[in-house]
């Protein structure tokens, strides 16, 4: 009995010491502007999250080297969501309540982004996702921004491009049951059908499935002119390879998930001829090439994907907003007011010049953008141009 009491006392003492030292640490941190990041840093889709957080960290290092903001240094606190909603929520809670970040970049994937967007709205924290494309992400409150075009924009351009430019009248879709893939597939289905085309088959799979031969067989029997596969790289790679194993020679169409170079490691030559709709290529600017060089130099020659570029831009947009907050007298000591001012300044973003070109936000926080179309040749995406839909017709912008 006595032994137990001693143990309990020792524990209490230990806890007390820890809480004091933790308190001390946060005092010292008062001169650091913390930015949160949520994305998959481990797991099958870690390639997306790692590149996005790397790009944000690169931007922060550059900003810090240039003197930081208002004499303060920036710090990126990157939390691993593993691409899962529950993990993303606990990451969010740590960032929002323990780390007291001024804003959050991420989440990288759509489903976690939808969940975290709701919490950001409730707590009043700016969230900028570099990659979550579901049309509903920005419809949760007015604290959410994105530096990636919305799905509705992407599926609109995709459906018009397939119908008007490629001249397809019948296509099939094979998509995973997650918000990202389903959102795109259903968007294309709706618009392609409205244009007068036929969707011969809507086949589904689960994220993590590795055998798509049954779905591909079903699609083949409906004889479409092309197959639309708006999925992440691991699934898309497997679909392309198995289609070839089944002796199918139907062309494949894909989405911005295909812009991650990991696809060439996984699917190699099976990617030949795939046409995908993704981010528009920025006007030839030194900002983009400088970013790509700096990224490559900082991360062992790795090449950034389009989402990483978006993440880099998001960080600089945020820097500008935070800079203006300080100019308007904001102080980190009142974190709630500060966060609210950051939101006001995000809305004031006007013709931001980033690696992706000129960025403006629509009233709902969506990026105003056109879409790029690419065709894969010899494991390299060839840029076919950037497009917008005007008056229900596709128009090439450049």
């Amino acid at each position: 009995m006595r032994m137990k009491n001693v143990l309990v006392l020792a524990l209490v003492a230990l806890l007390a010491v820890f809480s004091v030292s933790a308190g001390g640490a946060s005092e010292e941190d008062a001169n650091v502007i913390k930015i949160g990041f949520i994305g998959p840093l481990t797991g099958d889709n870690a390639n997306y999250g790692i590149r996005c957080s790397n790009a944000a960290r690169l931007a922060i290092n550059e900003i810090n080297e240039a003197g930081g903001i208002n004499g303060m240094q920036l710090q990126l606190i990157a939390e691993d969501s593993q691409g899962a909603v529950d993990r993303a929520i606990s990451s969010y809670e740590k960032l929002a309540y323990t780390d007291n970040v001024v804003a959050i970049i991420g989440p990288v994937f759509t489903s976690p982004a939808l969940a975290v967007a709701q919490r950001c709205y409730e707590d009043g924290i700016v969230m900028i996702t570099p990659s979550a494309t579901h049309k509903d992400v920005t419809s949760v409150g007015n604290w959410v921004y994105r530096t990636v075009p919305s799905d509705s924009l992407q599926s609109e351009v995709a459906a018009h491009y397939f119908y008007e430019v490629l001249g397809y009248r019948s296509i099939a879709c094979l998509y995973a049951m997650n918000d990202y893939s389903q959102g795109l597939a259903e968007g294309v289905e709706e618009i392609f059908t409205a244009l007068g085309g036929t969707i011969t088959s809507m086949q589904t799979c689960m994220v993590g499935d590795r055998d798509f031969r049954t779905q591909l067989g079903e699609i083949r029997s409906t004889n479409p002119e092309a197959i639309y596969i708006p999925n992440y790289t691991v699934e898309d790679a497997q679909i392309l390879e198995q289609a070839s194993q089944l002796g199918m020679s139907i062309p494949f169409l894909s989405s911005d998930g295909f812009s991650d170079p990991e696809i060439y490691n996984l699917a190699g030559d099976f990617t030949e001829g795939v046409i995908y709709v993704g981010p528009a290529q920025a006007e030839a600017s030194t900002l983009l090439s400088d970013f790509q060089e700096a990224y490559s130099a900082a991360y062992n020659g790795d090449a950034p994907d389009s989402f990483a570029t978006n993440s880099y831009d998001a960080m600089y947009i945020l820097r500008d907003a935070v800079t203006r907050v300080f100019e308007n007298g904001g102080a980190l000591s009142d974190i709630d007011a500060f966060r609210s001012m950051v939101n006001d300044e995000m809305k004031a973003t006007d013709d931001f010049q980033g690696a992706n070109g000129t960025i403006n936000f629509a009233a709902n926080g969506d990026m105003v953008a056109s879409q790029g179309v690419y065709r894969v040749e010899n494991q390299t995406p060839i840029y076919l141009g950037s497009f917008q839909v005007v008056d229900n017709h596709i128009v090439q912008v450049d």
Binding site: A46, T214, G217, E218, Q245, E262
Partner: protein, 306 residues
């Protein structure tokens, strides 16, 4: 409309999937037969087998593109991986299961789950979490006959699985060690009294089961890719296959594996439901089978005699 030829195609794909499940199910069923214990780390052994195979194969191959050497290197890699996994299997048994043999039945089960996490987290730490390709050691251009297509790697999967099953069956039925295994599975204390070295039999069971898992892992890499988490779902399905066939029964494990593979491939189009529900369909059918025959298709109904 799904045509007959398509169903045949799905059937064929299902058999390839099923052959892999069957190979892995053998390991579950052998261990259960002898120890009445589910080795939940078995799925992760297949992952270790896949990585060992991949690393050995790439190391042996070097820059060579010689077709014959690729095949030889592939089979050598398979042997190395089988040997490595056999030793690993025996080691795990000695360290994590043997000390618990007389403990509460739940203790070795938890120990197995612990080993499973150690293996998969360890692999994720060493190799990273990204999926990797296992390069084909041959030209994998599909062979199309009468609208049915089959790839060389599918043929390889089926052939290797059949060979492994024949070898295993004759080993268990024809050799002294096989006889000792059968005796141990029937009645361990009596076998011990008859002079059978039960510890040795158990070690051999783990070695053989793990070597089969290594083969299953390498064959599965072509279809599932190599990743630290590849063993989880594949292992779970193989376990289910073993239960369906009648756990503890070697022929049952093979049958269960093939049935599960075919159900997964054919189930969704046959019932006209979305393919994303394929696992749900397969498992629903399995529940029905178990309701009708709780001991599995080939399982013996052994009641305790009063």
């Amino acid at each position: 409309m799904t045509t007959l030829i398509q169903y045949l195609q799905y059937f064929l794909n299902g058999i390839t999937l099923g052959a892999i499940y069957a190979l892995i199910a053998l390991g579950y069923t052998m261990v259960y037969g002898i120890l009445k214990f589910i080795n939940f780390a078995h799925g992760d052994i297949l992952m270790v087998g896949a990585y060992t195979g991949l690393l050995t194969y790439t190391a042996l191959l070097g820059d060579s593109t010689n077709g014959a050497w690729m095949l030889i290197a592939f089979f050598l890699a398979m042997l190395v991986s089988m040997a490595f996994c056999a030793i690993l299997g025996m080691f795990i048994e000695k360290v994590a299961y043997k000390p618990l043999r007389n403990a509460n039945r739940l203790a070795p089960l938890l120990s197995a789950i612990g080993v499973s996490f150690i293996l998969s987290n360890g692999a994720a730490w060493i190799f990273g979490t990204q999926s990797r390709r296992f390069p084909y050691p041959f030209d994998d251009t599909p062979i199309v006959i009468a609208g049915l297509s089959i790839t060389p790697h599918q043929i390889l999967t089926i052939v290797v699985s059949i060979i492994m099953m024949i070898v295993l069956t004759s080993f268990v039925n024809k050799t002294r060690m096989g006889k000792a295994m059968r005796a141990t599975s029937l009645d361990q204390p009596t076998s011990e009294l008859m002079g059978i070295d039960v510890n040795h039999v158990i070690s051999m069971t783990f070695a053989i089961g793990s070597a089969l898992a290594a083969v299953g892992g390498i064959l599965a890499s072509f279809d599932f890719r190599v990743s630290a988490s590849m063993g989880t779902m594949t292992g779970l399905k193989a376990f289910v296959a073993a239960v369906i066939g009648g756990i503890g029964n070697i022929q049952g494990a093979m049958l269960g594996g093939i049935i599960l593979g075919i159900l997964e491939s054919v189930g969704a189009p046959l019932l006209g439901i979305p393919s994303s529900l394929r696992d749900a369909i397969a498992f629903a059918v399995l529940i029905i089978i178990l309701l009708v025959k709780p001991d599995g298709i080939l399982g013996k109904n052994e009641r305790e005699k009063v």
